[in-house]
């Protein structure tokens, strides 16, 4: 064994022999603790390193742990016989130590956890309401041309939300229309009513599916991008710089984005409606032997302006929800790289949840008015 423990009267000696590279600290430490005489009085614990050859930090770790045990048991020790650099390292480990603040508060029971959660929800609600309030006043200022809104920021956001989203919105909507038609056709074909696929796809896409699909795409694409961009600005203290310059954050960061998305969303919804119907037409014409003129005739019959405006209205509302969620979580992002990811996730998830909730509310209200 490379370590031997020797008791000489009131002294206890640790003798080291050979190499101490990558050696097992825990078993050696256990041996040391076991070999310490329980009741015998030990004045000094010292070390003999005459036959010590090579060592690495596992050896220093062992000595450090030994010293911690010695200190805990209030025993005396001497580092005299250790090589200078080893002695210096051990002294360094106990010197200049910063005192950690008192132990971190631990949540004790479930009641405290529930209370803590309720307080967090309340504070988040308050924050959310004050954010909406701030954004509302920014809009009022915009109407009176008093808001600090940079035209370049608005155009950049509009380009990002509009033209750059056309490709993905078209593709997904086309596929959704195609799936809707295909699933519907399987049922309708059983009683020879496959021609009504055109009506099904038209009403479905125009009334709500187009808007919802655009909403989900834009929440993942643009809402996430808003949260990540503003979150990174928060990490880089750019948001603080705006605040200290007295520029309302909602004017500078939220207004251009919300305006751009509110303008782009209804247009994208119309595009999604059209592409969805086109997807349905491709199934009808290619798989169900419906002629193009028949399909468009039934689609046109099913098309109704009220449904169209309901879809567009949803688009506008979803635009507001997505941009509010993206900007809110971006502005309230923490100060490290991790929190940007968290903010982005929260922005997307909350936008989708709020879109579904608001759609439910709008549907109930419209039903009350027979729309």
């Amino acid at each position: 064994m490379p370590i031997t423990f020797q008791k000489q009267d009131s002294d206890f000696l640790l003798v080291f022999r050979g190499d101490f590279i990558n050696f097992e600290i825990s078993s050696a430490l256990n041996d040391f603790i076991k070999s310490l005489p329980e009741n015998a009085k030990i004045k000094t614990i010292s070390f003999n390193t005459e036959k010590l050859s090579d060592w690495d930090s596992s050896f220093v770790s062992f000595l450090y742990q030994v010293l911690l045990v010695i200190k805990e048991k209030n025993l005396g020790y001497s580092l005299e016989n250790l090589p200078d650099n080893l002695k210096h390292l051990l002294e360094l480990s106990f010197e200049r130590a910063l005192i950690p603040p008192s132990a971190k508060p631990q949540q004790s029971d479930w009641l405290e956890k529930i209370g803590d959660w309720a307080l967090r929800v309340l504070s988040a609600l308050k924050k959310g309401m004050s954010f909406i309030d701030e954004t509302y006043f920014s809009f009022i200022r915009l109407l009176f041309k008093k808001a600090v809104l940079r035209k370049e920021d608005f155009l950049f956001a509009l380009d990002d939300c509009g033209p750059k989203a056309i490709g993905i919105v078209s593709l997904i909507s086309f596929m959704v229309g195609l799936i809707l038609a295909f699933v519907g056709a399987l049922q309708l074909k059983t009683f020879g009513a496959q021609i009504y696929v055109a009506s099904l796809v038209t009403i479905g896409m125009v009334r709500i599916m187009g808007a919802i699909m655009v909403g989900i795409i834009m929440a993942g694409r643009t809402g996430a991008s808003f949260a990540a961009t503003i979150g990174t600005m928060q990490v880089n203290e750019e948001v603080d710089a705006l605040r200290t310059m007295g520029i309302p954050v909602s004017d500078f960061l939220v207004l251009p984005r919300i305006s751009a998305l509110v303008i782009a969303m209804p247009i994208l919804t119309c595009l999604a409606d059209f592409m969805g119907i086109l997807g349905g037409a491709s199934v009808g014409i290619l798989l169900l032997d419906i002629t193009p003129s028949e399909f468009w005739l039934y689609a046109w019959k099913a098309f109704n302006l009220t449904n169209f405006w309901v879809g567009v209205f949803h688009g506008v509302v979803f635009g507001i929800i997505i941009s509010l969620c993206g900007c809110y979580y971006g502005i309230n992002c923490g100060r490290n790289a991790d929190s940007v990811g968290v903010a982005t996730t929260k922005a997307v998830v909350s936008a989708i949840v709020w879109m579904i909730v608001i759609t439910g509310i709008i549907t109930v209200i419209l039903k009350e008015f027979n729309i």
């Binding site: 825990s26 596992s58 130590a97 910063l98 100060r335």
Partner: protein
């Protein structure tokens, strides 16, 4: 047998596209040295460090680390060389989702054969060495900037490196914390014999810790001075190094 220097740089040219930052640089760092790479902001000090640590490729040149050609080595050889090097980044670069103990344990779990318990003892030692004993369970967001640098240093020390690189270690620190970090660096150099390569333009640090230094001259894109900074101040080989070491004074 003559032992090779810790780092030997031969004819190194560093460029971004057509923009040359450093031309035909030659220098070597002895084992156990505290070697400072100094120069004005934008002179290419940090870029040189990125090349030495394998993060960027130079336009041309050769780097030998402990006698092994670093740039032309296979990926596996490069990894073996880098295992013997530790790096302290400007911000500490601690992983924010991990506690300090987990940050320091990461390289040990990845590259050593120590048991979980032994790793926790090693982590305790490394934290104690940088004055952070008892901070194992703290997250980087719960400690100050100076402590983050110390914790970053503890992580850099995890695998007992032969070479330690520092990128602007004093940046963002108050004078007292900066001096404490300087002392810590000298202690590590003295006790473990680790070679330190430090990129900095902090004159206090340079005059306190440096054994040897090179000065990258942004105007000529060359190493225009080399040696001990105290000697360089006494006998400046050119005006730019004198200005740098005296905060802009002209040489009489």
């Amino acid at each position: 047998m003559i032992t090779p220097p810790a780092i030997q740089v031969e004819n190194l040219t560093l460029a971004y596209g057509n923009r040359v930052l450093l031309k035909n640089a030659d220098f070597s760092v002895k084992k156990g040295d505290i070697f400072i790479i100094m120069g004005a902001s934008g002179s290419g000090k940090s870029s040189l460090l990125r090349i030495l640590t394998g993060l960027t490729k130079p336009a041309s040149g050769k780097i030998l680390i402990n006698g092994t050609d670093f740039l032309n080595a296979s990926e596996e050889q490069q990894l073996n060389i880098m295992k013997k090097c530790g790096i302290l980044y400007q911000s500490g670069a601690l992983f924010s989702s991990m506690t300090l103990a987990e940050n320091i344990a990461l390289p040990l779990q990845q590259y050593s054969t120590y048991s979980k318990e032994d790793i926790s003892y090693l982590v305790s030692l490394k934290l104690a060495l940088v004055g952070l004993a008892g901070f194992e369970e703290f997250y980087p967001s719960e400690i100050s900037g100076g402590m983050k640098k110390r914790a970053g240093l503890a992580r850099a020390l995890a695998l007992d490196p032969e070479i330690l690189y520092f990128d602007e270690p004093s940046a963002g620190l108050d004078p007292v914390s900066s001096r404490l970090l300087d002392n810590l660096m000298m202690d590590i150099n003295q006790s473990l014999g680790t070679t330190l390569v430090v990129v900095t333009h902090e004159l206090d640090s340079i005059f306190t810790i440096a054994k040897n230094a090179i000065f990258i001259d942004a105007t000529t894109q060359t190493i225009s001075a080399r040696g001990n900074p105290h000697e360089l101040l006494k006998n400046p080989p050119n005006e730019n190094i004198y200005k740098f070491l005296t905060r802009g004074k002209n040489h009489a």
